[in-house]
Symmetry: C2
Subunit: 247 residues, 2 copies
């Protein structure tokens, strides 16, 4: 499966802490934070939000709020005081957000985005909901691909890893020899996805443990985040904003 003759390399970075080992430019970086930043971003673009400004610091969110922007954001599952709503994908489906710019602040996802911005990197947003769309687009760029898992507070997280594995399998298979991987984390991800794909929800519940999911208020959105390929959006970072390049 992992044809070593492929022209472009595919790698998986399990957590922001490991990112310094991966900084190969130029590359396409697919950032994922399944619970919930990148799933929420995809929901927003599916709802025709115009753009998302990802910010990492709460002070930045406050400045945008004062300028009149729509501000969303959380820390550890709690909506920020300066935010109108939290990061559940359902919040981004409000019709009033169509055509609007939303400022988003999350525990892991936007921190990860801040980290990977580089002059020669293309940064895009991946979730189960837009998996094939974002992978197809990434492959068309004809560059190395790095799947960057936002993780949970810098730790390895199962849900992001499963996305990485599903994307790895898709890219290697669809790429037919254009992409290869010699990256142990890509191979491990792909094998974990192989174990999980028949029933990702059951697998995730075993892994991430009901109490963590409950604490994160995820019970209601678990099925939503694990839907495959329901969206066609390809959110890409352009300057400081994320826009849907497929729109």
């Amino acid at each position: 499966m992992y044809n070593e003759k492929g022209k472009y390399a595919l790698e998986v970075c399990f957590s922001p802490l490991s990112w310094p080992l991966y900084k190969k430019e130029p590359a396409v970086i697919i950032v994922t934070d399944i619970f919930r930043a990148t799933t929420a971003m995809c929901a927003a673009f599916q709802n025709k939000v115009k753009s998302i400004i990802p910010v990492a610091e709460i002070s930045e969110s406050i400045v945008y709020k004062e300028k009149g922007y729509i501000v969303s954001g959380e820390r550890d599952g709690k909506t920020l005081d300066c935010a109108e709503f939290g990061n559940s994908p359902f919040n981004f489906m409000q019709p009033r957000l169509q055509g609007q710019t939303v400022v988003m602040n999350t525990t892991n996802g936007t921190q990860a985005l801040k980290m990977v911005r580089g002059h020669n990197n293309i940064v895009c947003i991946g979730a189960f909901t837009n998996l094939q769309a974002v992978c197809n687009w990434a492959m068309e760029q004809k560059q190395h691909i790095i799947i960057f898992c936002a993780g949970w507070k810098n730790r390895f997280s199962m849900e992001d890893t499963l996305f990485a594995g599903a994307a790895t399998r898709y890219i290697i298979q669809k790429g037919e020899g254009t992409f290869h991987t010699t990256c142990d984390s890509a191979i491990a991800s792909a094998d974990l996805w192989h174990m999980a794909e028949n029933n990702p929800r059951l697998y995730i519940e075993k892994a991430a443990h009901r109490h963590r999911l409950k604490k994160m208020g995820l019970d209601d959105i678990l099925d939503y985040t694990l839907q495959l390929n329901t969206h066609t959006c390809v959110p890409v970072l352009k300057g400081g904003e994320i826009v849907d390049i497929s729109a």
Copy 2:
């Protein structure tokens, strides 16, 4: 399987970069570097070496050499100029080493050991060859257990992860409710081991890729490093030296 009522936590740290997230003291830390530091250490103790002094810097190895110690060591698979031999487990089976102290310097393993030393931590050495012995001993300490993968140049490595998975499964099953894990990396490791255990050699070759293994000169020792429970030694760090506490 992962009984959440267990009294002691079991965690897996995938690479030295992630170690700062794990520093819970007191705990038993099982350090593993399958290719090849910890496998070689177990081979040494099986051969009745008296003790091993792990050093992380080449300058330290040179100082010990000048003091008349037997010095072994490598960087990236190449024997150090100051060393009598490299880190293949076979080198540690020489009869002349029995009863001797050996100074050891490796790319990943001794660096990892240096990192985990803490006042309240117990640090021991794990390999497939002493898996049950080291796990049984670790469980007897009645503390939290962290399995620390030395990795490959700070990256996730499949062989260390498979050891972590085998150890996780063993400890959770054997512990019968004394140990639990809510750690995604422990659960991922255990599942990867579950996929690999029928034919670890085939699995590792797929994962770590023949060219990396060849480059590391591992072709001749692969079968040796993947043997399960052939050794009964329990190497433990005492002061600056590793000794076999089962001897």
